[in-house]
Symmetry: C2
Subunit: 218 residues, 2 copies
């Protein structure tokens, strides 16, 4: 899998623009758990995920965190290069959730090509609109939906991503993802267990009745 085939609008760039991106480009491989970018760090560049999985989250001063979106193979991470857009005034932390290989396009390279290329600027618009939609969805979840629905939604999504009903997740981890406290999650999970929807064991949540969770999530 080459960079050229992964980068969505590659053939709409001029040969000169392609050369500039190619000459700036470098590869990086990081183990699971690596923090690739955080608010206090430099403007790293754009990431294109070759394999693995990243998550973008926001952190509170007290260390609480909430996942705002995830990035999979062929996804592009814009906010690791947030300096390219001076209007972006928020800090996102990017962490590898699996061993991950990625290409990095240096911020200044991307910015200089985008300044002259309508296709690249329009593509960047679409990327940002898509992440914006993720965040609006999250905001609506937090504002309007009750925790039981959010938790059901989270468990079903995790099961779909991991391809298993037996999820290796602590209550603390789930609480961090949903922006709440461990005690709140433990109480809700016990309710789910009492209803036969999940089975709890140390460090594991197993989905026993996905249909019931989906009903909750409707």
């Amino acid at each position: 899998m080459s960079f050229e085939t992964c980068f969505p609008i590659w053939d709409r760039l001029t040969p000169g623009q392609q050369d500039r991106i190619r000459s700036g480009l470098f590869s990086r491989t990081v183990p699971k758990g690596t923090v690739l970018h955080s608010g206090s760090m430099d403007c790293t560049g754009l990431f294109l995920v070759r394999s693995g999985q990243l998550r973008a989250c926001i952190l509170s001063e007290g260390g609480r965190q909430i996942t705002i979106y995830r990035l999979f193979e062929r996804d592009i991470c814009l906010f690791s290069a947030s300096c390219i857009l001076r209007s972006i005034q928020f800090d996102v932390t990017i962490q590898a959730e699996r061993d991950t290989a990625l290409w990095v396009i240096p911020a200044e390279t991307y910015q200089s090509v985008m300044a002259e290329s309508a296709p690249l600027a329009n593509y960047t618009n679409e990327l940002m609109a898509s992440r914006f939609s993720d965040v609006m969805w999250l905001l609506e979840q937090i504002l309007w939906r009750s925790l039981d629905r959010r938790l059901a939604s989270f468990l079903l999504e995790e099961a779909a991503i991991e391809g298993t009903a037996e999820l290796k997740l602590t209550h603390e981890t789930i609480a961090n993802h949903l922006g709440t406290h461990r005690e709140v999650i433990t109480r809700m999970l016990r309710y789910f267990q009492n209803e036969g929807m999940v089975k709890l064991a140390r460090g594991t949540v197993t989905i026993r009745n996905g249909a019931a969770l989906r009903v909750l999530n409707e």
Copy 2:
């Protein structure tokens, strides 16, 4: 004040692109309270505020609402033309908070110029990034900050916008803006009053100690 002087990157468009925008453009004047755009309505076009004030908010099924940002003179409203970006998948309601005059650029006109103009596409990126930052700020307020800080922040902002310490606001209205319930706001406002920070009367909140509110907001 002409459209050409208000539109930020007007002189970076080609004469042909300027002609297309000028010929599609129309003016609109709406009284305070008018809903200019909502999720279920058509893709109206981009608004450029000539005078007055708009607010963008999201609504729950139950009718609760929360303000996500405001638009003043010379601001451009992108999400009233959300169809121009296929990745935008959320509904925003745009309402006039004062009698408002605006220019409307039809969505298809803007889209066709943006497709070929790197300056316009880059400008649109900056607009979206700026709104994205507003929403991230809001999300962080909701997730991490306690209501007293959010309410103090809201009152100070209103006073700055209206240019007066005597705010014509019901508790219901404040609750809608902050995405919570009237009872919660009433309780917090009474706490503020007991602390000498505000004075409450029917339909009015008067700021008596802005410095104390600002301390709360730090």
